[in-house]
């Protein structure tokens, strides 16, 4: 398994601003994923962030809105840009350890006013 931490755990932001969420893993992993979970909904994959390549975004998500960095095998960031109230969600990172299972961070609860 893996131990994953996220910062911040929660934040309240003003419309039009940006927030960068950090994800730190306690071991080196190739595959990292970023999800969004809107209130009362399941998880929706935003993008896959593999070290050494550009992030791959799912339909409905674009790099300008959700830029991702993956500088090394233990760390990634997701930025939510030019936020609106519709971006209020829990944002989760996860890693895949080669066993077809994913391990999730605790999530970042974002509220946009």
């Amino acid at each position: 398994s893996a131990v994953i931490s996220q910062k911040p755990s929660r934040d309240i932001c003003q419309r039009g601003t940006s927030l960068t969420i950090q994800c730190q893993v306690d071991s080196q992993v190739t595959m990292m994923f970023w999800y969004r979970q809107q209130p009362g909904q399941s998880l929706t994959l935003i993008a896959t962030a593999n070290q050494g390549s550009e992030a791959t975004y799912e339909s409905g998500f674009v790099i300008d809105k959700f830029p991702i960095s993956r500088p090394n095998l233990t760390f990634s960031t997701l930025t939510v840009s030019n936020m609106s109230p519709e971006d209020s969600s829990i944002y989760l990172c996860s890693v895949e350890l080669g066993t077809d299972t994913q391990y999730f961070g605790p999530g970042t609860r974002l509220t946009v006013l």
Binding site: S42, L43, L45, D100, G107
Partner: protein, 113 residues
Amino acid sequence: SQKIEQNSEALNIQEGKTATLTCNYTNYSPAYLQWYRQDPGRGPVFLLLIRENEKEKRKERLKVTFDTTLKQSLFHITASQPADSATYLCALPSGAGSYQLTFGKGTKLSVIP
């Protein structure tokens, strides 16, 4: 893409009884299926993975079945306890050979003392 249906949004059962949750999927037959537990304000926690050539898998009080003909998985918790109260998510690979997961909306289980 894969579509997943979890039978009910909420399930209430009496402590000590067996809880049975259902996950149905459409489209292609996945190589495996997973179940996760999510507590409020936390990230999902991996519970069990069952592969297409396995009919049943057990882990302590948990049992998962996988019927590729019916395109269905059943998740059982025997001798349920109030501590089992949580949302349970079914997840499948998003496509053949994909490491990305598609999640169901989840079933919120409440075990009543």
